[in-house]
């Protein structure tokens, strides 16, 4: 035993090997450099705003997904849930138009519908998973099909469109902002800050990690495992609602193809960011980097003509697998 005295200065947190921390950041930096070299307008304020706004929907959902995965769960239903909530929101707002008229109240009503529907949908997933003890994969695979089918049915196979006047009134929620920063970016940033604090600095975050790491240990440590899990699903549902609120004014419509594959993009962002898919460890800031990496690849492919944008999915796939391999190698070394 070395008789090293414990210094009062807290040692730097070196729990994780540096590669798993540096990897995603490095990849992001490389992408930015590549993008800047390939197209001069890449670093323009307009393009950055555009990339971030588009990434915000997935990003807001991915923050919630980080908690679900950290607590040992999974949610495949978020894309369908977003489409369903968008459809519901549009239907309710259109229906309330004659009585409320175009104005702030009807927008608030739509937002409230989205948030409540999101929380309820999340609680429902969580209820089946925690109280009834059914695999998260099965439950959310089921609800994914249900929501997708419901929105198709509500739209009668076509598109649900927000009333034209309403759409014009609601548009600024996506396209305007403060000091040139679009609203979705601001909301995304707020969600990230709250999420990061929640994950790394509060009891809830620790309880999520403990639950995902070993639910038995968490139970024996007086952690309410079921309630923690339920809360992660409800929180994810709420954030899907928030993302939908930001998404609906962009197109003003919802259809069967709204939010397709969002769940996979969100899960991919979480994993690229270094959260462990089996649960037990998650970091919100990593998820943000994951979202940005996915968004930038899309943007770079669109701005340059070296590689067809149709190969976007293939490149994302390679990156996801690479990210996991890198994490594993780092773990083996550490």
């Amino acid at each position: 035993m070395t008789t090293q005295t414990v210094t009062t200065r807290t040692p730097p947190p070196r729990r994780l090997p540096s590669m798993s921390v540096l990897g995603p950041i490095l990849a992001l930096v490389i992408l930015v450099i590549v993008g800047a070299l390939m197209n001069s307008s890449f670093l323009s304020a307009g393009n950055i705003n555009n990339v971030l706004s588009r990434s915000a929907f997935i990003g807001i959902i991915a923050v919630g997904m980080t908690f679900v995965i950290t607590a040992g769960g999974l949610d495949l239903s978020v894309g369908s849930m977003a489409a369903f909530i968008a459809g519901l929101m549009i239907l309710v707002m259109n229906a309330a138009l004659p009585s409320l008229g175009v104005g702030v109240p009807i927008i608030l009503l739509g937002m409230a519908v989205a948030l409540v529907a999101g929380i309820l949908a999340g609680l429902l997933n969580g209820f089946f998973i925690t109280t009834l003890g059914i695999e998260a994969f099965i439950v959310t695979l089921g609800s994914m099909g249900i929501y997708r089918s419901l929105v198709t049915w509500l739209a009668d196979g076509g598109t649900l469109s927000l009333d034209f006047d309403l759409r014009t009134f609601y548009r600024p929620v996506y396209f305007d902002g403060i000091l040139g920063i679009a609203w979705p970016i601001i909301v995304f940033a707020a969600v990230v800050i709250v999420g990061e604090i929640l994950m790394s600095r509060t009891r809830f975050g620790r309880h999520c990690a403990a639950t995902g790491s070993n639910a038995h240990v968490a139970h024996y440590s007086a952690v309410n495992v079921d309630r923690t899990r339920l809360a992660t699903y409800a929180m994810l549902g709420l954030l899907v609602g928030v993302a939908t609120i930001m998404y609906v004014p962009r197109l003003g419509s919802a259809s069967a193809s709204t939010g397709v594959l969002w769940e996979l993009e969100a899960i991919a962002a979480v994993i690229i960011g270094g959260t462990v898919l089996k649960g037990g460890f998650g970091r919100v800031w990593g998820t943000v980097i994951g979202v940005l990496i996915l968004g930038l690849i899309d943007n770079i492919l669109n701005l340059t003509d070296l590689v067809s944008p149709y190969l976007n999915g293939a490149i994302q796939g390679v990156i996801i697998v690479l990210a996991v391999i890198l994490q594993r190698e780092a773990k083996a070394k550490g």
């Binding site: 070395t2 040692p11 729990r15 509060t202 009891r203 403990a210 024996y220 440590s221 007086a222």
Partner: protein
Amino acid sequence: MMTIPGPVLSLRGVSKSFGPVQVLHGIDIDLHAGQVLALIGENGAGKSTTMKILAGYQPPTGGTILLDGQPATLSGLRAFEDAGIVLIHQEFNLAEQLTVEQNVFLGRELRRGLLLDKTRMRQLTRDYLDRLDCAVDPDTPVSKLSNSDKQMVEIAKALGRRARILIMDEPTAVLTGSEVDTLFAQIRVLRDAGTAVLFTSHKLGEVAAIADRVTVMRDGHVVRTDAARAMTEDDMATAMVGRDVSDLYPAKPGVAADAPMALRVAGLDVPGWASDIAFDLRAGEIVGIAGLIGSGRTEAMEGLCGLRPATTTRLEIAGNPVHVRSTQDALAHGLCYMTEDRKLRGLLLTKGMRDNLTLQALHRFGRVVIDRGAEDRALTQAIADFDIRAGNRDVAVGNLSGGNQQKLLLAKIMQSQPRVLIVDEPTRGIDIGTKQQIYAFLRRLAAEGRAIIVVSSELQEVIGLSDRVLVMRQGRIAATLADDDINEATILRHAIGVAAPQTRKAS
């Protein structure tokens, strides 16, 4: 043994280093056919590394391995297995979802043409199990077996590999008393058939019961090798620790008659496990709960602490009637349970010490945002208070030795400042030096005015620690013993339900 043939497997001057750290210093070990060798030593003495070298999991950095007296040129696990050397791990190496037969032949399936020869595999598995006197059906999934049957499957698997040298890492750690007897009977069968057996155990009584010879290791050296009957358990312990351990248990200061009542339980029912449990506990008192495995000891205590469904007719903590329906309730009333299973229920093995230490008591470290500085100070304090030895504060808890994990677990429970502390198997699988420390901690906590319940399968531990002993049998309290009644024979009689003293003593 009348004749002692030459050793079948030997280590001669074997050393092993991991980087700059030398863990084995020129050790000599001999395994003889038809003999059981016990390898004993404290945690960290080098037993595991020695076993891994013997079984080919790791090559030595110096010295030679002799197989049948010849320097062995084996390399790789497979070569050792082909030479008939099989290591059975402490944590079973079985595929839980596969059947017994599938496990026995895993990786060496017999085929006829392209298809599996199921008939032959079934019949061979049956043969192996018969040789072990084991009645398990080869078609049973391993997940449905008890620990002792899993042990038998491991041995059957070794037979299937034609093992003539069987190395067992703490085979009894997860077994109950009667299961140990079965295992030992079967080890004797194998021994008499000419197999060389090496095993490790922390229970010196078992070593005395089964071993023909004993090799004691300390700090990477072999300090003594002798015939088992030439050594008393005290000799073994002294050789392991390198000092006298007769003062293993702290002195019992006795409980003042007017000490305040800390816990009063009446009519505790845990459906399926325990019924009508009633007892009192005074501040400063240590009460032991003894009983055979399956007597409902653990389940009753888990029920009391809200870890499983249970009811009580009356529950008082420090004189106040309380209701405990969840672990959160129990915690709020200062009632804490320390699990017997530190690896699966006690600690998050992939997390660091700090996260583990404060998990159960996070509410004490900040109302909304966790105060990490306070957590670090708590860890510094816990490391000092409980003598936790880890090279580095941020090491994953799974990399700590069993003894240090146990100390950390105790420190973790103490973070929630329990008034009533229930510890279940507080020293399972840890070395004797650390045991001594944990006993001292428990006595110190009692002296601070806490009430402590010790649940243990080790009678010596219950006897050595407790001011009073509750004996449980079939879900009920069979007896409450104090003073001179706290002895092995009396406890055992009540535990197995024979009141008259003339019955044979179960060993």
